[in-house]
């Protein structure tokens, strides 16, 4: 039977560029597991805003990822991301190694409808050296030589994240996590899972409006209680460190990963 998560998952199509949030920023794990169960959307190009964690590791382990643009992927306190590390070593996924502010800059360029954002730093790093899509120019406004890197706009096809709540009009409460808004501004489609849907109109009150991503930018919403588990959700619940460690240990091998995925049902988690 098709439910709300299936409806959301169906927006994601093979080959799409998918923007995903940092591990403390509202990771849509319930939706991620559904994407894996369905297994239809493959060859995904993940854009980590600005780093990735369990979600990225699972999608890679499930064989759905062709490319990862990120500043880092790890399981935080639980250690390295095993399926990610393995896939990079074997060349199974193509890497676009970045640095956090470069990913923010690329999304900002899309938000501002400009082809690039200039960015300081980077010069002389191998991060920059390996990025053929980034371009070093001489600052056209400077009198003396002043090399600067241009980061091309990043236009994700779809942004996915999990948030504490949405209202009936489709407005989503994001609080201080404004990188979630930045993801949505830059993306053609934005899919949001939430802990709950409330009757209050967030936009009607200046206090709640200040932390709201307006419905204007939200394509579809599904309710998913504890939808970030085992990641935490700011202001709502803490990460399940034991579960993250359990995953980290299991996923050291492809078999362990498969076993873990077959036996762990996130949606019915505590």
């Amino acid at each position: 039977m098709q439910d709300d998560l299936d409806r959301l998952a169906a927006y994601v199509i093979s080959g799409m560029r998918v923007a995903v949030p940092v591990d403390y920023g509202g990771v849509p794990m319930a939706l991620t597991r559904r994407l894996i169960t369905r297994g239809e959307a493959r060859d995904l190009h993940l854009i980590c805003v600005p780093t990735g964690g369990l979600q990225v590791d699972m999608l890679i382990g499930a064989g759905l990822v062709a490319m990862v643009e990120t500043s880092a992927v790890s399981l935080g306190e639980a250690g390295g991301a095993p399926r990610f590390n393995n896939a990079v070593r074997s060349g199974e996924v193509r890497m676009l190694d970045a640095t956090c502010p470069a990913i923010h800059a690329g999304l900002l360029a899309a938000q501002k409808a400009v082809p690039f954002m200039p960015m300081r730093g980077l010069l002389g790093s191998d991060v920059q050296a390996y990025r053929e899509d980034w371009k070093v120019i001489d600052n056209p406004l400077a009198e003396d030589a002043d090399p600067i890197v241009l980061i091309p706009a990043i236009h994700p096809d779809v942004a996915v994240f999990h948030a504490p709540m949405a209202d009936r009009a489709g407005n989503v409460w994001i609080g201080r996590r404004r990188e979630l808004a930045a993801m949505a501004y830059a993306s053609g489609t934005t899919l949001v899972t939430v802990e709950r849907i409330v009757e209050t109109d967030f936009m009607a009150d200046e206090t709640t409006a200040a932390g709201t991503l307006p419905a204007l930018y939200v394509t579809d919403i599904a309710q998913a209680e504890r939808g970030a588990w085992p990641h935490g959700l700011w202001g709502t619940y803490d990460p399940d460190s034991a579960e993250l460690r359990r995953y980290a240990a299991a996923a050291r091998t492809a078999e362990g990963f498969a076993e873990y995925m077959a036996t762990t049902k996130g949606e019915t988690a505590p």
Binding site: A72, R94, D97, S125, R178
Partner: protein, 258 residues
């Protein structure tokens, strides 16, 4: 209870000294020793009428001064509003280059680490970047890093407001000289010899003939660390604070990881 400072406390005190005079220090998420050093620096500054030190701990809710999403740290650094920051490094070389990406030939490296995070930007923008890595072995302190996540120095025409300031390891404290460029051994932690440190370090560094021992804290500083600072630390890093407390009281081995 140990009446003299234990090894971890020497690291914390060293960090507090390196932060002297700063106004705003940012600390990475899982960095209890740098956080403790910053908290000690703040407590010391308050005791001496120096300007109040602001500490941003990434990922912490209590120590968060930002409201504009995860890009704000970088904006704030670019604006010159962050004076000091800490970087680790899977590999660190004598030119101050840092590698957070992996070992071997990129991209299909034989060891892959998480990635460069914000280093390729923050190293250019924050005046006092303190390289902090307890493990001080030839596999960490290398002649030349396999991947430059962030370079230690830049050509003169490159915009650069920040860079390496010091390197603090479990063996000693080095200061960085960007004109040379290179590290100079400032002091050896208690029990270390120059010969040992040389053997453990893949790069050349400057040093006195008989480098001094890293100075232990005076009694008031140690009291501040073991009192207020440990209490503050407990709020954000309960496990680490408990472990440090146990070590001070001699109920666990005092040796730090090398």
């Amino acid at each position: 209870m140990s009446t003299s400072a234990i090894a971890r406390e020497i690291l914390i005190v060293s960090i507090a000294r390196l932060l002297r005079g700063t106004r705003h220090v940012a600390v990475g998420a899982a960095s209890p020793i740098p956080a403790a050093g910053a908290m000690l620096a703040r407590a010391l500054a308050e005791a001496t009428d120096e300007p109040r030190l602001r500490i941003s701990i990434l990922g912490s809710v209590e120590h968060n001064f930002f409201t504009n999403g995860s890009a704000e740290l970088f904006d704030c650094a670019g604006q010159g509003r962050i004076d000091a920051f800490f970087l680790g490094g899977g590999q660190i070389d004598g030119a101050g280059n840092v590698n957070l990406v992996g070992v071997g030939e990129y991209p299909e490296m034989k060891v892959r680490w998480p990635g460069s995070f914000g280093s390729a930007y923050l190293y250019f923008t924050i005046p006092r970047v303190i390289l902090f890595r307890e493990e001080h072995t030839p596999r960490v302190m290398v002649k030349s890093v396999d991947f430059i996540s962030a370079p230690g120095t830049s050509a003169p025409d490159v915009w650069r407001k920040g860079g390496p300031y010091a390197l603090l390891s479990g063996r000693g404290l080095f200061m960085f000289d960007k004109d040379k460029p290179g590290f100079r051994l400032e002091s050896l932690h208690s029990g270390q010899t120059l010969a040992e440190i040389r053997d453990a370090t893949g790069f050349e560094f400057g040093h006195d003939e008989n480098p001094p021992e890293t100075a232990p804290p005076d009694a008031p500083t140690l009291a501040l660390l073991r009192g207020r600072v440990l209490d503050e630390l407990h709020e954000t890093y309960p496990d680490f604070a408990a472990g440090l407390r146990a070590a001070i009281h001699g109920t666990e081995p005092q040796e730090i990881t090398r």
